[in-house]
């Protein structure tokens, strides 16, 4: 964004504005946009979720407020604002008040590093991914605060569950993402997206075919397994079914949100939906190329950028629109998948969730790290000066090498998956074993 503003102010208008002003203006615009767009996303998401899940259940969903019920979230917002704010007498008032803020604020921070389109990001940190996940962990503190301050046993149980779940699922999420970091040699979100250009056989360029922006990491066995593990972990972090255990309404009423009402409750809701959005977004960014897609590179090549300062800002806008469209379409597809899963499955139990995380997902992600190193080794052989002569063998050789890497990692990952499902299958217990610990009354049966 700074590039465009620089171009417009300095080059087109000839104002010769200093750099700090440009940065100031661009960041102000970015912050404003984030604060405007993020809650709107949440509004739309709630509407989208309710309509979509209603169709899955042969219902219509909200259809009263506005055409097709599109203003339902607004009505909900009004309701939330006008509701009485109830604080339990025994609650720790200060912490009770702070908790929703501590939950919601980090989520807003996380928007800072999300690129919506080519060049459309607030800040491109070199450690963008690290920032993203580090900040997302902060909300666990808020959840614990909420659970503790509510002075409610259900809230406390919910908070304990939430924290345990968040902590244990951050591990597989980060290990899955580490694969992408290995592939791209970067933690910058922008450069991760830029690395996913080209054809869908990633990392291989074929002469004569233009850049389609389809070089997504999902098209490799490493990326596929990484995506599966990461998406599972994302479901758990976003507290979505089948991992919505912290707020399991059929068990512990509403978890840590039990004693919240009105706007405080809405803040939790906002944070949760925005976190879901961000998790979908980061899934798209790391495995599905973010804003990458056909046509972006062509538009971007004519736009104003560091490489091409003399470009036309119109193309910036066009590329931004197209990129945002790709990005949002993919993100909302994954949000739809989340809804879809919510519509279909029951939820796990808390110990099963932990077992699944530690015994199944984490081993798989670790295997995936090995696969990734294998993949990287095969794909980038020529980077080794001793093996550079191999690149002279030409394209057929590079395809064969790619194919071999593909097959090898695929076999490795599938084998790991099968092995893990075998190991994790519940043992065939007999009834006697099942009821061994049960005491059926003080009765001696016949």
């Amino acid at each position: 964004m700074a590039d465009v503003i620089n171009h417009v102010l300095n080059t087109m208008l000839g104002l010769n504005a200093p750099e700090w002003l440009i940065i100031f203006i661009s960041n102000s615009i970015a912050v404003t946009l984030i604060f405007a767009i993020a809650p709107l996303q949440m509004l739309f998401m709630t509407y989208f979720e309710r309509r979509a899940i209603a169709r899955m259940q042969d219902r219509l969903g909200p259809n009263r407020v506005g055409p097709k019920g599109i203003f339902q979230p607004v009505a909900d917002g009004v309701k939330m604002f006008t509701k009485e704010d109830i604080v339990p007498t025994a609650a720790d008032k200060m912490v009770h008040l702070l908790a929703p803020c501590v939950v919601a604020a980090p989520v807003m921070f996380m928007f800072a590093v999300i690129p919506w389109g080519p060049g459309m990001y607030a800040v491109d940190l070199d450690t963008g991914l690290l920032f993203f996940f580090a900040i997302s962990s902060v909300s666990a503190v808020g959840l614990m605060m909420a659970g503790w301050a509510s002075y409610n046993k259900f809230a406390l149980l919910g908070a304990m569950r939430a924290v345990a779940q968040m902590v244990s699922y951050e591990v597989p999420a980060l290990i899955s993402i580490a694969v992408i970091v290995m592939l791209t040699n970067s933690m910058s979100i922008v450069s991760i997206i830029e690395a996913q250009s080209g054809l869908f056989i990633s990392q291989v360029d074929v002469a004569g075919i233009p850049d389609l922006g389809l070089g997504w990491f999902i098209f490799s066995p490493v990326g596929l397994l990484g995506f599966i593990c990461f998406f599972i972990a994302a479901l758990a972090e976003g507290e979505r079914t089948p991992f919505d255990i912290p707020e399991a309404d059929s068990e512990i009423v509403a978890g840590y949100m039990t004693e919240y009402s009105g706007m405080k409750f809405a803040l939790f809701f906002l944070a949760q939906y925005l976190l879901n959005f961000l998790l979908c977004a980061i899934t798209v960014i790391t495995f599905f190329g973010g804003w990458q897609g056909p046509g972006i590179s062509w538009l971007w090549s004519m736009a104003v950028s560091e490489a091409n300062p003399a470009g036309n800002p119109i193309f910036n806008v066009l590329a931004g629109i197209l990129g945002t469209f790709y990005f949002l379409a993919k993100t909302y597809f994954f949000f739809f998948v989340m809804i879809w899963i919510r519509g279909a499955f029951p939820r796990l139990r808390v110990d099963q969730l932990m077992g699944f995380g530690w015994k199944f997902v984490i081993p798989l992600t670790i295997v995936n790290i090995f696969s990734a190193s294998l993949w990287i080794g095969w794909i980038r052989w020529e980077l080794n000066p001793d093996l550079a002569f191999l690149s002279a063998l030409g394209e057929p050789y590079s395809f064969a090498r790619w194919g071999f890497a593909f097959v090898a990692t695929l076999v490795m990952n599938v084998a790991a998956y099968t092995l893990m499902t075998r190991i994790n299958r519940s043992p065939d217990e007999t009834i006697d074993e099942l009821v061994a610990d049960q005491v059926f009354g003080a009765v001696t049966l016949r």
Binding site: I53, T241, P242, I252, L434, D437, V439
Partner: protein, 375 residues
């Protein structure tokens, strides 16, 4: 079950699940002592919906009690009506025409389908599904309720049975609509099974949970799908055939382990068997003799002195009515043997040692209705 050898001293926590809780199926309260998330003890607390139904019944005349039986288990008002009507008929020695018996069987089997459809939906809901299986079950239920409404005039509180028959004959479009419903029913059951039967999440949530071994199930007097889920082929329709159930060919599904999963499967299979009964009943209905009600049967009766107990296999289990008559207009004693009440007896033993999340699942698999439990 405390983990042995732990160094950390833990404290037990008492939680009230209920009386106002999303998944206690009404105003039921469980006083749960937990160690972490593990249940150490569970005490069911009843009575929030108690209205002294039995004493109200002692004030009312025999006929006036009929609509009150609707309110016992409001999912299966037809089954309640049948059990009560049978008890009074036994007491006053009223005969029921054949056609009326067929109509009764059709109604009660429809009730069984609708009860199981919604009970399974609620069970999956308790497991944490977001309403979808319940919505599918409720859709079938609504269709059946449409049939009930066209026949009896009400969807839930049918009040359709009378002593010696039913209040009015089936409307002309009932049979074709029911046939259409029956052709569509396998789609629903198969889809429900396809969606959930092999679902890994459902399986790990229900397999080995709430196990009730055979002998325990008998000694706890549990009935219905819970008893059959434990592997005891005891179905009153077979064990002591009442009405005209000896004319139908149907199977009794039983489970092997006696856990939540078995109860789930038994209920699905029972819906299929009910469909079989309905098909046979529809085939035999045109040949049935008599009208919808015995014209000689008086409704405002004074049965002779004595007592009578009849029971039926209601969707939730053995539903019995015990009536003592002193020869007056009102019953001297009126007692309901409510299946969901008795089925709650083993709840605390079934839950002990499992997690909090399992409690609601076990409770859901028992399938209680508080209107019947608290009476």
């Amino acid at each position: 079950m405390k983990a042995e050898g732990t160094m950390i001293k833990t404290e037990e926590l008492q939680i009230n699940i209920g009386p106002q809780h999303p998944s206690t199926h009404g105003v039921f309260r469980m006083l749960v002592t937990v160690d972490g998330e593990t249940i150490v003890d569970l005490k069911p607390v009843f009575g929030y919906l108690h209205r002294n139904h039995e004493q109200i019944a002692e004030v009312n005349t025999y006929l006036q009690n009929m609509p009150y039986t609707d309110r016992l288990d409001y999912f299966n008002s037809m089954a309640n009506n049948q059990a009560y009507a049978m008890a009074v008929e036994k007491l006053a020695e009223i005969e029921v025409p054949e056609r009326a018996e067929y109509i009764r069987v059709i109604m009660v089997e429809l009730t069984r389908i609708l009860n199981h459809a919604s009970a399974l939906g609620f069970l999956i809901n308790d497991m944490g599904a977001w309403q979808t299986p319940l919505a599918f079950g409720m859709r079938e239920r609504e269709k059946i309720l449409d049939l009930f409404e066209s026949t009896s005039g009400a969807r839930l509180m049918c009040n359709y049975f009378r002593f010696g028959g039913v209040v009015r004959d089936l409307p002309p479009d009932f049979v074709p609509r029911l046939q259409s419903l029956l052709t569509g029913l396998p789609t629903f059951i198969d889809e429900f099974e396809r969606m959930l039967r092999e679902n890994e999440i459902l399986r790990i949530r229900s397999e080995g949970i709430g196990v009730l071994p055979k002998e325990v199930a008998i000694s706890y007097s549990v009935t219905g799908p819970v008893l059959r889920g434990s592997g005891i082929p005891y179905d009153i329709r077979k064990a002591e055939p009442y009405s005209i159930y000896d004319r139908f060919d149907f199977d009794v599904p039983i489970g092997t382990v006696g856990d939540v999963y078995d109860r789930f499967l038994v209920r699905i299979e029972e819906m299929r068997q009910s469909k079989r009964i309905l098909e046979q009943a529809l085939k035999q209905l045109p040949d049935a003799e008599g009208g919808h009600i015995n014209p000689k049967a008086r409704q405002n009766i004074r049965p002779p002195v004595g007592d009578a107990y009849t029971r039926i296999e209601s969707p939730k289990g053995e539903l019995g009515f015990y009536l003592v008559s002193d020869g007056g207009q009102t019953p001297y004693r009126y007692k309901v043997r409510a299946p969901s009440f008795i089925n709650l007896t083993p709840l605390s033993d079934m839950c002990r040692g499992y997690k909090v999340a399992d409690v609601v699942v076990i409770l859901g698999s028992i399938d209680i209705v508080m209107g019947e439990v608290d009476r």
